[in-house]
């Protein structure tokens, strides 16, 4: 099967060196996932079956409907035959047979109507329900899996599980039940034909194996051609999307001409592959039509002579002619079903992989609820922790923060400050030692109640699509408008919010798109304030912000920390100097601790850095950080 990546290599020939430079690429062409798995995987079917289980009654109804539907389809030509054979003697006066046939016909089509209505409604709705259930289960599971899993898994990948894979499961569920009907119909037609006239039936049906074999050979090639066409198409679309998103970079580096040529290659490749795919799709049409014509011709010649010999009546011949029109469809959909199943198994594997991600952090069965009245103290006792246990980020760290105090954590990048804060929230489990909040080991508390008492403001402000009001209130749905406004006023966000179109009801774009970084951060400060937690963690909350906004935040800090325990990771001296205590971390160990004056008096690392007159503690010169580990994002 041709891979879209091949277009890239084709381009490297020297003739084109002038217009298609060696390093130029548009879009990406990496297709990593298996599209087709084994056609049947017992484990996966069992897992998916668990989601179908609740709809078992509907499944039974729909299968019954499918079978009735197939039966009526089988019956209709037989009724026509009866009418022709018994009810249409030219010149006869007896209409009773025709009347009986008409009556039977009416009953049959009513049944047919009811069955088709039931089968389609019940199956489609059941399939929709099941996939929404699967998606819900996955999403709920992702809410519980550990952050380390989320750190090392790209969001895009998870999204394609939640969307693409779930959708191919939909297709599978919907077609599987219908396949039952196809099989029933096919078997029905075959047996009725053989029953009506064994030899003529056998002769007519002999085209079936031919069709079956032809399709068996054709299918893998055709499928490859189709998937290749689709892949080339998505590669071309990917390049187009890149042009849209990166248009500013493209224009500023004047790459339009080169990119156009490269895109042309991709679009042309997609065109070619589609034409090949179409050829494969269409080649089947004359084959099926010819076989159908052949079967009809056989019925006319052989059936016709049998009628003349009086061995069968003309009605039987007409029934055969009708059945021939019908029996190609089930074969077509049954062979297609094979691909659907393969695709569903591959998707099912990935879905169950997500559902099987172990939840590392559980509430204990007897976990306590952390009371909002707890004192707000924090203590680390001999804590050792590493994302990889062999490389501890924190080594035997101990410190205590008294209720209501503000403590600053400082230290070079990678010294473990952010990791310590993540442990306080029990995002990860310590390897040794204990983290205590309000005197309780965090492992003895429910995660929910712990989270309600520990609020965090992170370096990268993250806002949700929605109104400013809802962003500030977030999950505290009982917060009133006054609460929200007071919080916004306290952090100095009120004025700019009021200047937005709609004020607090202004809708923010994706990730707060229409606000500046500083404004987003002010809103996330307000959000932390509304959460009204006993402990507030500021994890480099002012790192990426311009001086003007930072000034606002500095002023707000005093208000925000009033009556709470504060843990602040910051690098601006202004924030650090005023803290009740400063803990200096280096290489995962506490090296110094005390207030500004005490640390200056000790004359250790802190005073050295301070005297070097660096504007910030992140600027401590250290070797180029070569960390591509997943937790890199949470460090700086």
């Amino acid at each position: 099967m041709a891979h879209p990546g091949e277009v890239e290599t084709e381009r490297n020939d020297m003739r084109d060196f002038g217009t298609r430079p060696p390093r130029a690429v548009v879009g990406s062409h990496r297709i990593e996932e298996e599209i087709f798995g084994r056609a049947f995987d017992k484990n996966i079917v069992r897992r998916i079956w668990a989601f179908v289980g609740p709809y078992r009654a509907k499944l039974v109804i729909s299968i019954a409907a499918v079978l009735i539907f197939a039966a009526t389809q089988l019956l209709i030509p037989l009724i026509i035959r009866y009418a022709i054979e018994h009810g249409m003697r030219p010149g006869s006066d007896d209409r009773s047979a025709l009347l009986a046939a008409a009556g039977a016909f009416l009953v049959t089509i009513l049944l047919n109507f009811a069955a088709s209505y039931t089968q389609d409604t019940v199956i489609s709705k059941m399939a929709e329900n099941v996939i929404f259930d699967i998606r819900r289960a996955m999403f709920a599971h992702l809410q519980k899996v550990s952050l380390s899993f989320m750190d090392r898994t790209e969001v895009g990948r998870l999204m394609s599980r939640l969307q693409g894979d779930v959708n191919s499961m939909h297709e599978f569920l919907q077609t599987s039940v219908l396949s039952v009907g196809d099989i029933a119909l096919l078997l029905g037609i075959v047996s009725v034909m053989l029953w009506l006239d064994f030899r003529l039936g056998l002769l007519t049906l002999s085209v079936l194996p031919v069709l079956f074999i032809v399709r068996l050979f054709w299918l893998p090639h055709a499928r490859d051609a189709f998937t290749t066409a689709q892949e080339f198409n998505s590669v071309a679309n990917g390049a187009l999307a890149e042009a849209i998103h990166g248009v500013r970079a493209v224009q500023s580096m004047d790459r339009q001409q080169v990119n156009f040529l490269l895109y042309d290659d991709k679009a042309r490749a997609s065109l070619k592959k589609h034409l090949i795919g179409d050829k494969y799709a269409q080649i089947m049409v004359p084959i099926v039509d010819s076989l159908m014509g052949l079967a009809t011709a056989v019925v006319i010649v052989v059936g016709g002579s049998k009628v003349m010999n009086g061995r069968i009546d003309v009605g039987v011949m007409i029934v055969f002619l009708f059945y021939i029109q019908r029996f190609f469809d089930p074969i077509r959909s049954l062979t297609a079903q094979y691909s659907v199943m393969q695709r569903a198994m591959a998707s099912g594997k990935r879905l169950t992989d997500v559902l099987d991600v172990e939840i590392e952090i559980h509430d204990k069965p007897d976990a306590k609820v952390l009371s909002p009245l707890m004192d707000g103290s924090v203590e680390f006792r001999n804590v050792t922790f590493g994302y990889d246990p062999n490389y501890p980020v924190l080594k035997n760290v101990s410190f205590r923060v008294n209720p209501g105090d503000t403590v600053a954590l400082v230290g070079p990048t990678g010294s473990g400050k952010s990791s310590a804060m993540a442990l306080l929230h029990r995002f990860y489990e310590v390897q040794h030692g204990q983290v205590l909040v309000g005197g309780h080991d965090v492992r003895d508390l429910t995660q929910e109640s712990l989270g309600r008492q520990v609020a965090m403001v992170l370096q990268e402000p993250f806002l949700f699509t929605g109104t400013v009001f809802n962003n500030i209130r977030y999950h505290k749905t009982d917060a009133t408008r006054d609460d929200v406004m007071n919080a916004a006023k306290a952090v100095g966000a009120h004025d700019f919010i009021m200047s937005l179109d709609g004020g607090y009801d202004a809708t923010l774009g994706e990730r707060g798109g229409n606000l500046s970084l500083g404004q987003c951060q002010l809103i996330s400060f307000a959000r932390a304030l509304v959460a009204d937690a006993k402990i507030l963690i500021l994890d480099e909350a002012t790192a990426n912000i311009d001086s003007y906004t930072e000034m606002l935040i500095q002023k707000a800090l005093a208000r925000v920390l009033e009556g709470r325990t504060g843990l602040v990771i910051a690098h601006r001296l202004a924030t650090i100097r005023g803290a009740d205590r400063i803990i200096v971390l280096q290489n995962g160990r506490v090296v110094e601790s005390g207030n500004h004056d005490q640390l200056m008096a000790i004359g250790g690392l802190y005073s050295k850095l301070y005297n070097l007159n660096y504007a910030s503690f992140n600027d401590i010169p250290d070797e180029e950080q070569i960390d591509i580990t997943p937790q890199a994002g949470s460090q700086t």
Binding site: R248, G304, V314
Partner: protein
Amino acid sequence: MNRDVIDSATYPRKSFAHVEAAGWGRGLSTLVRISRMNLWHPWQVAFAIGSTLVAATLQLLIPQLIGRAVDQVQTANNGDFSAGAVEQALWTTALLLLAVSVLRGVFTMTQTYFAESVGHHIAYELRLACYEKIQRLSFSFHDRRHSADLITICMLDLEGVWIYFSSAVVRAVLLTMLIGIGAYMLLSTNLVLGLLALSFVPFVGWRSSVTQLRLRATWLDLQERLSVLSRVMEENLCGIRVVRAFSAQAHEMLKFERASKSALALAQQRVDIHVRNSSAMTFSFWVATGLVLWIGGNKVIAGEISVGTLASFLTFMTILQMPVRQIGLMVNGFARASTCGSRLLEFLDLDIMIKDAPDAKPLEISEGTMRFDNVSFAYPSAEDRPILKNISFKARKGETIAIVGPPGSGKSTMAHLIPRFYDVTGGTISLDGQDIRNVTLSTLRRAVAVVQQDAFLFTTTIENNIAYGDPWAREPRIAGACESAQLHNYILGLPAGYKTVVGERGVSLSGGQRQRLTIARAMMLRPSVIVFDDSTAAIDADTEQRIRSSMRRFAKDRVTIIIAHRLSSLMHADQILFIANGEVVERGTHQQLLAKGGRYKALHDLQLRPGDGMLTPHGGAS
């Protein structure tokens, strides 16, 4: 007010532009233009339509032949002819039928193939047109139009246009032939029976059209609801730390539940629309069949028609059933082409605001001097609100100009004017005396590199990303640029070094690393003017210092413009412009400005000295 417990953002916006797309758009004129596009491929169009005509005719012969065969058998039974003669006739009919079937298959094949081929060719041409348009439309257009909108136009709308030929035009020809000729044949054979046999056609055609249009309207609505659902999920996953930090999982589940239920409800509703109509259509077909059987049977008894004629009527109905159901698809094809086409053509017809002047010459750099003369600027959408007012300054080769000022003062805008991302609304910007509006865009943009704050990474290797502006570059030069940008060592530490794939689906880089990559990328252009647009904010001061010292030689040959908040990034500049409200309020060197004691000094004090009185509440106690 906002009493809603969960955010209203989990509801689809009703104003969604695409819902109106279920209508007819600008209608006829669009369809005419799209039809004309199809004629760019006259031979394929001719083959497709020719094949359709032949295939439809052959299709209509099949019921006739079947009827004939039945009659032949009947005549033999009545003993009118000798068995041998009938057998002969049967053979002829059978062979004719075989030949007709084979030919019908072949022509159906060419019909579909060429129809698809026309579509794919048009898709290819339109794609290129869209791509080119996207690349050439100016920044102000891209500021206004959301990228998701453009993707919809260039993918979904484009599809609506390219399938127009096969889904609407060819189908229309086929259906007209089949129903028209078929009706003629049936009605001329037997008027009453013909009318009965065709009685299901108008009903099915009507139901199918209504259903398709309704499904389309709800499809767009469903897409919207599904995209809300995706957004809820994606935001949850991207913001997972915030979700966890606030223990808001239950809240997030509620949001998910609401978005999910809303989409599910509509999906179910669509099932109802679809199933109800398709069952009704099938039923009407069978009712018509039943009537033909009853009335036809009576006619056979009365000797008015033969059993063969009845059989051919019934076969004909079977053959007609599928195409008639497709009337709805055809109507939908026209409707879709009309709305999608309107939007696509509107996009392709857009004027490109910033382009080469008719007599533009290539930019020639000799001295390397850049001048702003009384430059003013306002965004096209808000012309009465000037962003920059009468800015003038001059920078010679080797000089560094720093621009500082509060957020929203217009600093970045200045950066964007130099490579003509936007055109000035007053005054001129010139390079070595050449007004930038009189030189070719291509040479100008190669001469001016802007290092953006938010670096866009292309999904390809680091190497290709750095050499983006100079894809012919050789490795040593790329490595050199990376060394200057203090990125080389980091890259060597990556699994595949310079060949590591970055970007959306590759290794993700931190903000500082991305900014350093962009700096290296800009150096590759060997520009005459390099602008750092707040592009070192995420780089720590020490690394920045090292970048600056290693770029010293590089800076000697060009004008450097630094826009920054952090004063340590810019205090070494030859000239510092303090911008407020679009005007230069202070200018001079660092020392001069400090001595002046104005706004620059205030900012300086704020940053470098821990201010008193804004400490934590406990600050005073220590």
